[in-house]
């Protein structure tokens, strides 16, 4: 008979643990396999590479997760107090060595694999013909600047910043290179062409994030941080800020329009025409 006066050895908590942990494992597995709430499709080669690394990590951690939770449930159920004495054992040297080595190998292997995807994002430079776009974060909006026909960005002078006269970035009027610069609050870019973004900030730290690019990068005042990628799929994607930048952090939002080369050229022409007026 298992029923005892004190509930300490009762089977009820053991069974409850088994049920709760099994539900946890089952629901977690289901939600990951059914992809109920999931990443949007990646739109860059690097994004696909990162997704593969995600997959590898999901498999490894998933196996460990299932085994560990079920082992816990089983141990708790199997060794609930049923009146027999506990096995006296202090430990096992071989087991310690085994699981230390095993985890070390698995974890470091994952880390080394992940280094590849990271290197794709950060180590190689952009190709020389990449389209350069300057991204500026400011409380609480994004500004995107294109060099215009001359291919040169105009000088910026912090004293010239005045949103009320349409100069949120502080373009220096005395620099001819800045005359044809295009400044827009949304990001327009052509697909299948290398893009280089140069991230900067005017006031506090912001963070540029487009889910489909799988890239997030802080915009740090005082630094210009380049990132590069190539989009392979047209569409409109949301740009958000992911570093707390003040009370308007949550509505610091823009759209990234990935367009065909032809559409992009048309857009560029239109902007240049507007600038010329």
């Amino acid at each position: 008979m298992l029923s005892r006066k004190s509930s300490t050895g009762s089977a009820v908590p053991a069974i409850l643990f088994a049920i709760v942990l099994l539900i946890l494992v089952a629901s977690t597995l289901y939600l990951h396999i059914a992809k109920t709430w999931w990443f949007p499709e990646a739109i860059t080669p690097v994004g696909h590479q990162i997704d593969q690394q995600f997959f590898a990590t999901f498999v490894v951690t998933g196996i460990v997760f299932v085994l560990a939770q079920i082992a816990l449930a089983w141990l708790v159920f199997r060794y609930r107090d049923q009146g027999r004495k506990a096995t006296f054992v202090r430990g096992h040297h071989g087991l310690e060595v085994l699981w230390t080595t095993a985890t070390l190998v698995v974890f470091v292997a994952l880390g080394v694999m992940a280094a590849h995807a990271w290197g794709e994002v950060h180590f190689g430079g952009p190709s020389p013909d990449a389209l350069q776009i300057e991204v500026t974060g400011l409380q609480f909006q994004w500004e995107f600047r294109y060099a215009g026909p001359d291919g040169k960005f105009g000088r910026i002078n912090v004293k010239d910043i005045d949103a009320s006269v349409g100069n949120p970035l502080g373009l220096d009027a005395s620099d001819p290179a800045g005359k044809d610069d295009i400044v827009v609050p949304d990001l327009y870019l052509p697909v299948d062409r290398p893009i280089e973004l140069m991230l900067r900030s005017q006031d506090v730290i912001h963070s540029f994030f487009v889910r489909e690019l799988r890239i997030k990068q802080d915009c740090v005042p005082g630094l210009i941080i380049p990132i590069h990628f190539e989009v392979n799929k047209t569409g409109d994607y949301e740009v958000t800020c992911n570093q707390l930048c003040g009370l308007g952090h949550y509505h610091m939002h823009a759209i990234m329009h990935a367009m065909s080369e032809a559409d992009f050229e048309q857009w560029e022409k239109k902007q240049e025409a507007q600038n010329a007026q």
């Binding site: 109920t36 430990g91 096992h92 087991l95 990271w118 990068q217 949301e238 707390l244 952090h249």
Partner: protein, 584 residues
């Protein structure tokens, strides 16, 4: 008293209420004070998180205490900043270490008190003052700060022009944290000195309970980490008040105003902050690991599996915790090659954590498990630790962190592994040590109901946050209505909020149980759990100098449960071999 008589015996309890309960030098009173301070902080912290959850799902709900009853975006940021600061500093750092550690470390090592009782009292009152300053910041013009518990510069450095609460509120935040650093440093000196020099006869390092090891390593981390945060706070304060440029770069234009700073580095603040901040994570969890090992062993009626491996892994975690701070900064613009180094080191620190998990499972294996409330929380801890630890494997890889950084995924991860896991250890410690602290038992049935609600509840709250992170929901958003893909997540947030309401309500069971049992609980015997360590060898309530002058000698390791040949299934550490009853 003569100049150097050296009062080596201070066994007389102080007379007078104030000296006894307020400015007490007794480590047990100070420990209790810390626990009550933590309990006040956690109460406020939980109410704040309730406001967060309410606001996220019903943004127009009227909430008492806010202007027009509406939580504005800046109010929301104030609330999360205060929630994070209270929980990380005044609960997770304070209760497991300074609270339970203060109370039980001297008893577990057979010492009359902490080594430096006056410094101990000063640490508590400094911490108390820090809490008052922090809370006061909510009531100054401009209100509490909105820069988050990490207070990234330059948002935290440039003053009120960057947003509400960044004036006096932010200054008080920095002052509060600097005070807290001072209190923690003094406390660390006490813990280390006490453990090194006040162990009783026979208590070698390798016979110390794992709780003591946890507190000892944590004190090492606190000693080395809080000085760095203090330095960072001083520099930040100078940037704010004296126009220096440590963290503020040149050519900033905030709200249309050009600032006269030059050349500072926002990343410098992050490096200093996280050099403290990562060890801080382990300051919260190492005492919890010790407590959990202790409780698992007691109620499995088995020695801790791989005691030495447990000690070495604690030490390894402590050491490695100073080498991984960069993994908080993968997207900050730091050197990508150092990011790789930080990534590998972070994965390596997962190894000793995994060793601990395996050994906890090993402790359960072959045991005779008693499902007390304390044990339930300890088992729950292991489950949470596995879940929270595995999600860390993602964040340790910079390529994956690129996507998950600053999303709800991170919130889910650190709440499970650092917040809730440490809270579970505090609950386990409360149910386990309450009889020794107050001479009464807590109600076990209420404790078990409390456990099941909390255990299921926290999984319902924090698991879905991982899925929100997959979709890309950003943290620290006062409203998700500006971003299309976040609007679609409303039902998930609703589920999380409801889970949170239920789980928070269940905590009332604990409050009731705790305060009711102090007076009305079943009277506790000296050693209700049949434990082996020294705290169970002293009478209840514990006398003023713990052992009434009769200091024990330790003859064996801390977890001698179910030893073959012994009559009882536990052999207390202080029992001389000839006193051990033989089976048969």
């Amino acid at each position: 008293m003569s100049a150097h008589a050296g009062s080596i015996h201070h066994s007389e309890a102080p007379k007078g209420w104030i000296r006894h309960y307020i400015f007490s030098l007794d480590h047990k009173i100070i420990g209790t004070q810390y626990i009550l301070l933590g309990l006040s902080a956690v109460t406020i912290g939980v109410i704040l998180s309730l406001i967060v959850r309410l606001h996220l799902v019903w943004p127009n709900l009227h909430i008492w205490g806010f202007a027009n009853g509406i939580v504005s975006p800046e109010d929301y940021l104030r609330v999360i900043t205060m929630h994070g600061t209270l929980m990380v500093f005044f609960v997770l750092t304070t209760v497991p270490q300074s609270g339970f550690g203060n109370y039980f470390l001297p008893i577990q090592i057979g010492a009359p008190d902490m080594a430096f009782p006056t410094i101990n009292m000063l640490s508590f009152w400094t911490t108390f003052l820090a809490l008052i300053v922090l809370l006061a910041s909510a009531f100054v013009p401009g209100g509490a700060t909105i820069s988050g518990w990490t207070s990234y510069a330059p948002l935290s450095a440039v003053g009120e022009i960057a947003g509400p609460g960044l004036g006096l509120g932010q200054t008080l935040w920095v002052v509060s944290i600097a005070l807290f650093c001072g209190g923690s440093l003094m406390s660390a000196i006490n813990f280390l000195g006490t453990t090194i020099d006040l162990r009783t006869k026979g208590l070698s390092l390798m016979r110390m309970p794992l709780t003591v090891w946890g507190w000892f390593i944590t004190a090492c981390l606190a000693l080395l980490a809080f000085g760095v945060l203090l330095a960072a706070c001083i520099l930040l304060l100078l940037d704010r008040l004296a126009q220096t440029s440590f963290f503020i770069p040149a050519d900033l234009s905030v709200s249309g105003v050009v600032l006269h700073h030059a050349g500072g580095s926002p990343l410098l603040w992050q490096h200093l902050f996280w050099f403290f901040g990562h060890p801080e994570v382990y300051i919260a969890i190492l005492p919890a690991m010790g407590i959990i090992s202790h409780v698992l062993s007691t109620f499995s009626r088995k020695p801790v599996f791989g005691y030495k491996a447990m000690v070495y892994s604690l030490t390894a975690i402590g050491f490695l915790s100073f080498t991984v701070w960069g993994h908080h900064m993968f997207i900050s613009g730091m050197n990508p090659y150092s990011a790789l180094a930080f990534s590998i080191l972070t994965l390596v620190i997962g190894v000793p954590s995994a060793i601990k998990t395996f050994n906890w499972l090993g402790t359960l294996w072959g045991g005779r498990i008693h499902f007390t409330a304390a044990m339930l929380f300890a088992i729950g801890f292991v489950s949470l630790f596995v879940t929270g630890g595995l999600s860390g494997i993602f964040l340790a890889q910079p390529a994956l962190d690129l996507y998950l950084h600053d999303t709800s995924y991170v919130i889910g991860h650190f709440h499970l592994i650092m917040g809730v896991a440490a809270i579970f250890a505090m609950f386990a410690a409360s149910y386990y040590w309450f009889p020794k602290m107050f001479g009464h038992m807590m109600n076990e049935t209420l404790g078990k109901i409390h456990f099941w609600f909390t255990f299921i509840g926290v999984y319902c709250i924090f698991m879905p946050m991982h899925y929100l992170g997959y979709v890309g929901e950003a943290r620290r958003y006062a409203s998700t209505e500006s971003v299309n893909y976040m609007i679609a997540l409303h039902p998930v947030n609703m589920f999380i909020s409801f889970s949170a309401f239920v789980t928070m309500s269940a905590q009332l069971l604990f409050y009731f149980n705790f305060f009711w049992s102090i007076k009305h609980g079943k009277p506790a015997e000296r050693n209700p759990w049949h434990g082996t360590t020294l705290e169970w060898s002293v009478s209840t309530p514990v006398p003023h100098d713990n052992f009434a002058g009769d200091y024990p000698t330790v003859y064996r390791g801390p977890y001698e449960y179910s030893v073959p040949g012994a009559a009882d299934d536990f052999i207390p550490q202080h029992l001389a071999p000839e006193q051990v009853a033989k089976a048969g």
